[in-house]
Symmetry: C2
Subunit: 463 residues, 2 copies
């Protein structure tokens, strides 16, 4: 330690001497402006913001993980808390909310997240869970959609019909990430209930994204003042389907060869770079077709399978899921913290928002309970299936975020966002509550089944 | 396969039916505008750009790796080739060059890279290599600096002195990444020559960054029309030193506790998120002090040691270096491809640029050969040390990139960038040549030593 200190002091002195002796000192002509800003072009504010957002996200996530809740909730609530600083006059929070680079990083984050979720599933899995999942998913999209629409009509009586429909759409998609995470944490991923839930969650994700594409397309057309031709809405639906069908065909017949070919490449990081490039390419293609980029990212993930990366893994590289984890650990929290940041805490003080949030939450929870009627198999814990479909999580927030960027003319003819501050607050409360409520009730319901089937199993054995 | 196809067709039909039946179709009022743009806020152009840059980087990198050259060269040349498309009228290349989000990602990339390079080294290693490294590094900074200055005076006779000095500064820093990579590829990391080279490369990186801070500060002050007080240049140097000394103290006494505390956190991705947050925080602090953010990133990397992450690794997580690899695989190529993109190929057609590039390259190569005089130990292959110091790589490019963003008044009083298109082209050629030339000559020189020491070793054994 002593010699290290001496060496450090020496280094410092030597560096100092060299800098002092450096010719720049003798010839340069003015340097007092050095305090004013960075030497580099990037606004250092972005660096500080990212660092703080990551710290908030991870501390919040850790806290909620310790409370046996999904980490995503902690990130969200952390963001809400940071955002609330603006109520106390911290002005830089406002510039954080509107920074273009942070917004872009957040969007790349959500694209990465949907890519990861897509990776967790594949077509074969979707096909295996079959009819029950499809029926559960369909009920789970249709019923909450109409309930949400009704709630919106009730609470925004003067609003445009498209706004009501959009709010209904935000209730459609189950958060496959949160559901899967809860099932995994409980060690239930291989149970029949879990497979039905996951299959249905995947299908209603896709359905939800299709509904989003249609509704958002209709909103954009209305905002542009164009009359709706039924044919053009059909065109959006057709394009969505063509995109997904094209993705399916590509995934079956082209992608395996493509990535097996890429498997011959050996330079560092080639696998993760190619996978991300593929994801971004499909996200771009989806955007070009008028769909949300996340639809493309999800499709890209569904197309890719660890099998395509055999060549990489065989020579000792990590699997794609492992490689993507650090990228998503960097980018995804930025999305959720930013989403939290955008929640205006003042709306929570308004009784109407709380009522709206409560009604939306009820619609979200009870709408999904109808799902259980879609379970065809006997001996399945139907309650658990319905409960497992409750969490809305990231997809609901993504919808809300998109809604906040879409504009519609109101009754006075002025352009207002489809999802205003109040609605956004209500949706966030709905997401928080549905996400928070699921882990404990799902755990309770599944453990009841476990006890029953244990009894049944021991009965079978004793027979 | 057959049943899978049927299921796919069924799924497509079912999705179609649901979308067609979705209430949005019956109530929405116009959708023909859906083609015009993305539903999401992010410009899809950014997604396409990132995807293409990654593909270009990895294919170029792979090609050069196959040719036993550093992958960074391939990324650079890939970028140059894509950039040359603008000569054939591809206008979108121009918007790629100036896109703010791409530029921000590139800067985050170079910050991540310097963080990684910093991680590869630590203070103890720097202290161990001792006097030889320090002397080699000092000579390796001072001699190329003056040679480069001289070359700049020769080729830009009318330019401001600060421009000449800046060009000298771009020749200072050895690319520790490329050197380490070459030594690693050859299996020579533990040799005495390798240690001296690495130690010296680290020190002259720090020296180079200090020189950059001083020169850039002086340029900014001049641009602001302020007179140079020697004291204020001293202030920059002092701030740099204070920053590095503070970083050293922090690294010795605070960081270990901090990260050991963080080791108790268990949620997913917490380690890599904290490390990146730490890196960005120091980059921000450096920027606030008027230094380049990369100085902070490098210091952050040097402060962190795998030892601080013991708690994470013990419970089966990857090491920080492994976790950072995918992040850098995503961000770093964006920097190098963008650097390549910014090379205006037309400058290569001008004889004066080629002459300038040739002279700069000669200054860079021969300037570093003087280094070998700094080796105090006997029996060391001095030629190999000199050769190992040749590559400039990323640091030279970073300097050039910063130079392109700094403005100085020319003789007519107008503001011109310190590093103009011609100088940038010349520096890029210098970087390409020094990086390209090192692997083969270093390999040749080290293998000569290997043969000699093998003979010596067998002689010792026979004694």
């Amino acid at each position: 330690m002593h010699s290290l200190k001496r060496i450090l002091i020496f280094c410092a002195l030597a560096l100092g001497a060299i800098v002092w002796a450096s010719p720049a000192v003798w010839t340069a002509r003015g340097a007092s402006g050095a305090d004013e800003g960075p030497v580099h072009g990037l606004d250092p504010f972005v660096l500080l913001s990212i660092a703080l957002m990551l710290l908030v996200a991870k501390l919040g996530g850790e806290l909620f993980a310790k409370l046996k809740q999904p980490a995503v909730l902690g990130e969200l609530i952390g963001g809400i808390l940071v955002g609330s600083l603006s109520l106390f006059g911290v002005a830089s929070v406002e510039s954080l909310r509107t920074d273009a680079v942070i917004a872009a990083l957040a969007e790349l984050g959500v694209i990465t997240l949907l890519f990861e979720v897509g990776l967790e599933t594949n077509l074969r899995e979707m096909a295996e869970v079959g009819w029950s999942s499809l029926l559960v998913a369909t009920l789970g999209v249709v019923v909450p959609f109409f309930l949400g629409w009704g709630v919106a009509v009730l609470f925004i009586p003067g609003g445009p019909t498209l706004t009501h429909i959009f709010i209904g759409a935000t209730l459609c998609a189950t958060s496959v990430g949160i559901t899967a995470r809860v099932l995994k944490d409980l060690g239930w991923l291989q149970a029949r209930e879990a497979r039905i839930i996951l299959g249905a969650a995947v299908i209603d994700d896709v359905l939800g994204l299709l509904v989003l594409a249609v509704v958002a397309g209709a909103i954009k057309a209305t905002a542009a003042g164009e009359a709706l031709a039924l044919a053009s809405v059909g065109l959006i639906a057709l394009k969505s389907l063509a995109f997904l069908a094209g993705a399916v065909l590509l995934g079956q017949f082209v992608v395996p060869h493509l990535f097996r070919g890429a498997g011959r490449l050996e330079s560092r990081g080639v696998m993760v770079a190619f996978a991300i490039a593929f994801c971004f390419l499909l996200a771009w293609a989806a955007a070009r077709l008028g769909l949300a980029p996340i639809v493309g990212a999800f499709a890209a993930g569904m197309m890719l399978d660890e099998i395509h990366f055999e060549a990489f893994v065989r020579r000792g590289e990590r699997t794609l899921t492992e490689l993507l984890a650090p990228v998503s650990a960097l980018l995804v929290p930025i999305f959720f913290v930013l989403m939290g940041l955008k929640v205006d805490l003042r709306v929570f003080g308004q009784l109407s928002v709380l009522g709206f949030a409560l009604a939306l939450t009820a619609a979200a929870v009870f709408g999904k309970q109808v799902c259980s009627l879609g379970v065809l198999e006997r001996g399945v814990n139907r309650l658990a299936v319905g409960l497992g479909m409750i969490p809305r999580g990231e997809v609901g927030l993504i919808f809300a975020g998109i809604g906040a960027t879409l504009l519609l003319p109101n009754e006075q003819g002025a352009s207002v966002p489809v999802v205003g501050a109040e609605t956004f607050g209500a949706i966030v409360i709905m997401v928080v509550v549905t996400t928070l409520v699921t882990p404990p009730v799902l755990k309770w319901s599944l453990q009841r089944t476990a006890r029953k089937s244990k009894t049944a199993a021991s009965a079978e054995v004793s027979e």
